[in-house]
Symmetry: C2
């Protein structure tokens, strides 16, 4: 059971040398990079490393054209090397990471990467195997409604990667069976499932922030939000216990896009205080979609993730 060995090794490793590891899994264009970027900025790049496991593709774009599967298929990726590199990072060791250039669809010079205090691992497959999962302290799955994700993918791939909308739509169709088989099943291994979406039944004006629905699963200990929030589903923010798709109980936090800054900041303060940060304010720029545009649902999502990362770190320090 190699996943037990890495768990034991991590528990024995000196807290100061062992990074706090966060996985952000999700399908293509589900918002992984945006969330990762926000967290990295909040923590500071000097203390936080982020890597993308999609760099571990086996084939370049030209080679993939001849293959019967898409990059979503585990056989299209060196999952065994991902397992190896995640174990090394989790134990505080450097790796020589492959680099896939999305602009050209080719592999370039590998990159020497040393873990920092916090390591964020995003991509299509960070929760693919027992061994990869054993490397993380906190695991997240991004689960936007498919129609939103499709729109995000068209916007991004046409904007940054030079595809036409028809190409992206055809690609999405081709990927769907493998998405169902290999990406969405990772949802069940996440401590937190995040869904940004418009609130059903509301006609918010275009440009309104999306709401955030967060499944806070009892696999890790979440901040005690029930002292601040109730389950009144008419409020802009509420917390209720529900059964997840597989029947297991979970907390569900909903933050509406129209939640006021005052309301949201009350909750932010409660989370931040529970962390015991001695009155310091939450990091700047939290919840920023673009410079100057702030989304309270995004701010609270980032803050809950920060809470967990800092909590793990504090526990390591206490144990050391």
């Amino acid at each position: 059971m190699p996943e037990k060995i890495i768990q034991i090794a991590r528990s024995q490793a000196d807290g100061s040398s062992r990074p706090v590891m966060l996985a952000i899994a999700g399908d293509s264009a589900s918002g992984k990079t945006t969330l990762t970027k926000g967290l990295t900025e909040a923590i500071g790049e000097d203390r936080c490393l982020s890597i993308c496991v999609d760099d571990y593709h086996k084939f370049d774009r030209a080679e993939r054209k001849k293959l019967p599967f898409t990059p979503l298929h585990p056989d299209c990726n060196y999952i065994d090397i991902v397992e190896q590199h995640l174990q090394l990072l989790a134990l505080g060791r450097p790796i020589l990471k492959p680099v896939y250039d999305h602009a050209t669809g080719t592999f370039t010079r590998p990159e020497y990467v040393e873990p920092k205090e916090f390591v964020i691992v995003e991509g299509l497959h960070p929760l693919a195997t027992k061994l990869t999962r054993a490397c993380f302290d906190v695991t997240v799955f991004l689960d936007p409604p498919e129609e939103i994700r499709h729109k995000w993918k068209v916007d991004r791939d046409c904007g940054k990667r030079g595809y036409t909308p028809e190409q992206v739509t055809a690609d999405l169709e081709r990927r769907e069976p493998e998405s169902a088989l290999f990406i969405r099943p990772q949802r069940r291994f996440a401590d937190i499932v995040i869904r940004f979406a418009p609130v059903p039944g509301r006609e918010d004006p275009p440009g309104s922030p999306l709401s955030a629905e967060l499944m806070l699963r009892p696999t890790i200990q979440h901040p005690a939000l029930d002292s601040v929030l109730n389950d009144d589903h008419t409020s802009a923010m509420h917390l209720k216990i529900i059964r997840d798709r597989d029947g297991t109980p979970t907390d569900c936090l909903l933050v509406h896009g129209h939640a006021s800054a005052e309301e949201a900041q009350l909750l932010e303060k409660a989370i931040w205080t529970e962390l015991g940060t001695d009155g310091g304010a939450p990091p700047d720029h939290i919840g920023e979609i673009s410079p100057g545009t702030r989304s309270e649902p995004l701010a609270l999502t980032q803050l809950i993730l920060l809470y967990h990362l800092l909590q793990v770190r504090a526990n390591q320090r206490r144990a050391a």
Copy 2:
């Protein structure tokens, strides 16, 4: 003491999954690739993987131009990643190996490499640290006289890599201090030190095979050549015990370039018989410098290395 941990892990690993590891260290153009190629062909490419640790350079050729050191300096190489990858291979695990293209002086797409039954690791620094050395079953250092090596380097770098003889000579001068500091000290960690050279005092016609002088150090158990050879230094092949440069006793086997095929094959047969290969002949093509041209000193050198590789493998099988 991580080097002990890897030694223990290797001794515990299942013999059938743990490759036999051979290091071939030596300065630039000392004959590493030729020796590696000969052994790989003798064993068969299906059973033998060879890798070059010079692929772990930190800088490409253009970047190195601005640096105060040459590729011989350990700081010019990811020695920590070399240590990591050698440990993984030694335990039977795959690696994603960087690839340095000597023709262009740049890094290309990394290569997924799985160990085979035998793994030959050649390069400038395979014996650089305690941890790299702990990964090997047999270690070799190539130690040709400097004037021979310089000639080989000029021939190769002008022939295959597009340099002028003046450039190569200037490069050799620039490298000399680092060669003395970082490459030649690895000699003392080799079980076998190999020196191909003309025999001093003889005026052999051009094109005569070089003689081979092999230090067979008591760090591993060599075939019992003393039953076949004596220390008569006038014979074309002889074996004597000497003190090595640092004063430690060692066997020294000398095979002259003019040794006859009959004499050499008697010795080859003795080595091969001691291995207990049940009357099978030594591999084809052994000792071939080029198709059809055979060197007895090279043949005996390769055969002694093969003896050790196969001996380790047989011992693993007996222990399993």
